[in-house]
């Protein structure tokens, strides 16, 4: 269904982007040890009196695929929203390739321009797709490249078509989102995130609004992104088989902190934490 032609080649830039950023980021102090693509340092987040994240530490290496699993309400979506600057932490710092998304060097807040430059390195795909319903598929894909990256329209269309082919929907360029199935819409949403050439891609339960057959075609696309590109993936999912297959590392969340993390093999076969075991039992039973 999805043709593999040129796919690895198309994603090549991402590996370049990662390499470049590792060079240029040399000035940041933590870069000397290890340049993380995303780094949460003692991050807490409260909504009113409700504390959702508690002193969270989480690091993702460039190109690493990390999956967050855990019970509903444990704070997984909140982690992704904080990384995408859709919300601000109550305490702590978050860095993207060594640069704080909250403060400048003098510990003051970032200007809109600084924030936007850093934010551009992240892309996000949502559970509800969030395609722009008043625009065609192609217009959805070229809006950000032409306005944010200031590409010419021809250039943006060319690259949009590459990604549409990649998700197997090149014949839907002129359709409106409402004319597509949920699975097709989500594949378009992934393509729309990828045309911005993010170095980090955040995926929040991107198949949980879909029927199983449609979920499959979306997961196929993510598998290929995972295997053939060097983009860092931070995934939240309830699809345990998919998590096991695609992740380099799994982090188990409970009540706002990571209770256990490790390679999928270990988490799924020999979990150490009692609560991990309870959680896995509850989801694998279903």
């Amino acid at each position: 269904m999805l043709s593999a032609t040129n796919f690895s080649q198309q994603l090549q830039f991402e590996s370049n982007a990662v390499d470049d950023s590792m060079d240029e980021g040399g000035a940041a102090p933590h870069a000397k040890k290890m340049m993380w693509s995303i780094e949460f340092e003692k991050v807490s987040k409260s909504f009113g009196s409700h504390q959702v994240l508690v002193d969270l530490d989480l690091q993702v290496r460039p190109g690493e695929k990390v999956t967050l699993i855990g019970p509903s309400g444990s704070g997984k979506t909140t982690v992704l929203r904080l990384a995408m600057t859709l919300a601000k932490p109550t305490r702590g710092d978050i860095r993207i390739f060594g640069e704080s998304i909250l403060f400048d060097a003098d510990k003051k807040g970032l200007s809109a321009a600084q924030e936007s430059r850093i934010r551009r390195r992240c892309g996000m795909v949502f559970q509800q797709y969030n395609l722009f319903p008043h625009l065609t598929v192609l217009q959805n894909l070229i809006l950000a490249p032409t306005t944010v990256l200031r590409q010419s329209k021809a250039q943006a269309v060319e690259s949009a078509m590459v990604y549409l082919r990649m998700v197997g929907l090149q014949d839907k360029a002129r359709s409106y989102p409402a004319q597509l199935s949920g699975g097709q819409q989500q594949r378009i949403a992934i393509a729309r995130a990828l045309v911005m050439k993010p170095e980090i891609l955040l995926l929040d339960e991107i198949t949980s609004a879909l029927d199983p057959e449609l979920a499959g075609e979306v997961l196929d696309v993510v598998r290929r992104v995972a295997h053939e590109s060097r983009v860092s993936l931070l995934i939240v999912t309830h699809e345990m088989r998919f998590a096991r297959e695609v992740s380099d590392r799994i982090a188990v969340f409970d009540r706002g902190s990571i209770i256990e993390q490790g390679v999928p093999e270990k988490i799924f076969t020999q979990p150490e934490n009692e609560r991990t075991r309870t959680f896995l039992q509850s989801v694998l039973d279903h």
Binding site: A112, S116, F126, F132, H134, L135, A144, V148, A178, Q179
Partner: protein, 237 residues
């Protein structure tokens, strides 16, 4: 009735003034409504408060008081201009329209799904880019019908401009009544003219709705869905 119709050219002139004032205040209120409505939703509290105060202080006094104020009191304030009656009327009624329109714009923006704002942010669009390219075009599908209703009211508001001497259809109707003493016929004609204007305005806004991006998108998907369901039912038969 015949006596009234003999004044048709005066009436036509008054009608033309009413149409012109209506057009100016409807179009003139749009930028103010969009800006005030958008600012009402700003994350900055001071901005939100300022726009609320502006909206409320325009809406609080009756439009007629505001009109007298701008026409007669403002020129007495040192350094303030003396506006011609028609300019004063257009300024006041456009401001009034903007204040009411702001609430329609605010409600329209709030009706756009939260996820659309998130998607704009995640794609790196600035607030203004997201607003102008994604949020407002969708909100228009809510705003334009609401604005159509407001515009029809605004046409009727224009009758008060006769109080400061603008020779609109209301003003000339009163003049014709003074000449012919045929009160019933004059006011019947007047009512019919306002009725005609508001109907035309409604038709124009409904036409405008057809052109909105979201309406067009949804219409073309409905057409396609109908086509496929026809195909399905045909193949079943």
């Amino acid at each position: 009735m015949r006596a009234v119709l003999e004044y048709w050219s005066v009436l036509a002139h008054g009608l033309w003034v009413t149409v012109w004032v209506s057009f100016c205040i409807i179009v003139g209120s749009i930028p103010g409504a969009v800006i005030l409505g958008a600012l009402r939703l700003s994350e900055n509290r001071a901005v939100r408060l300022t726009s609320t105060i502006i909206i409320e202080s325009i809406r609080a006094p009756s439009a007629l008081v505001l009109l007298y104020w701008v026409a007669y009191a403002l020129p007495l304030v040192p350094g303030m201009p003396r506006l011609s009656p028609i300019t004063a009327a257009i300024v006041v009624l456009a401001l009034d329209g903007a204040a009411y329109g702001a609430e329609i714009v605010r409600a329209g923006i709030e009706a756009v799904h939260r996820g659309q704002f998130d998607a704009c942010h995640a794609l790196g669009l600035s607030k203004i880019q997201g607003f102008s390219r994604v949020i407002l075009p969708q909100a228009l599908s809510q705003i334009v019908p609401g604005f159509g209703g407001l515009a029809r009211s605004m046409i009727k508001w224009t009758a008060i401009v006769s109080f400061i001497g603008v020779q609109d259809v209301m003003y000339v109707a009163n003049y014709i009544r003074g000449q012919t003493f045929d009160t019933v016929a004059v006011f019947c004609v007047l009512a019919a003219l306002y009725w005609l204007l508001t109907i035309l305005c409604g038709v124009m806004f409904r036409g405008l709705e057809q052109l909105l991006p979201l309406n067009r998108a949804l219409r073309s998907s409905r057409v396609e869905l109908n086509l496929t369901s026809n195909l399905v039912s045909e193949s079943v038969q």
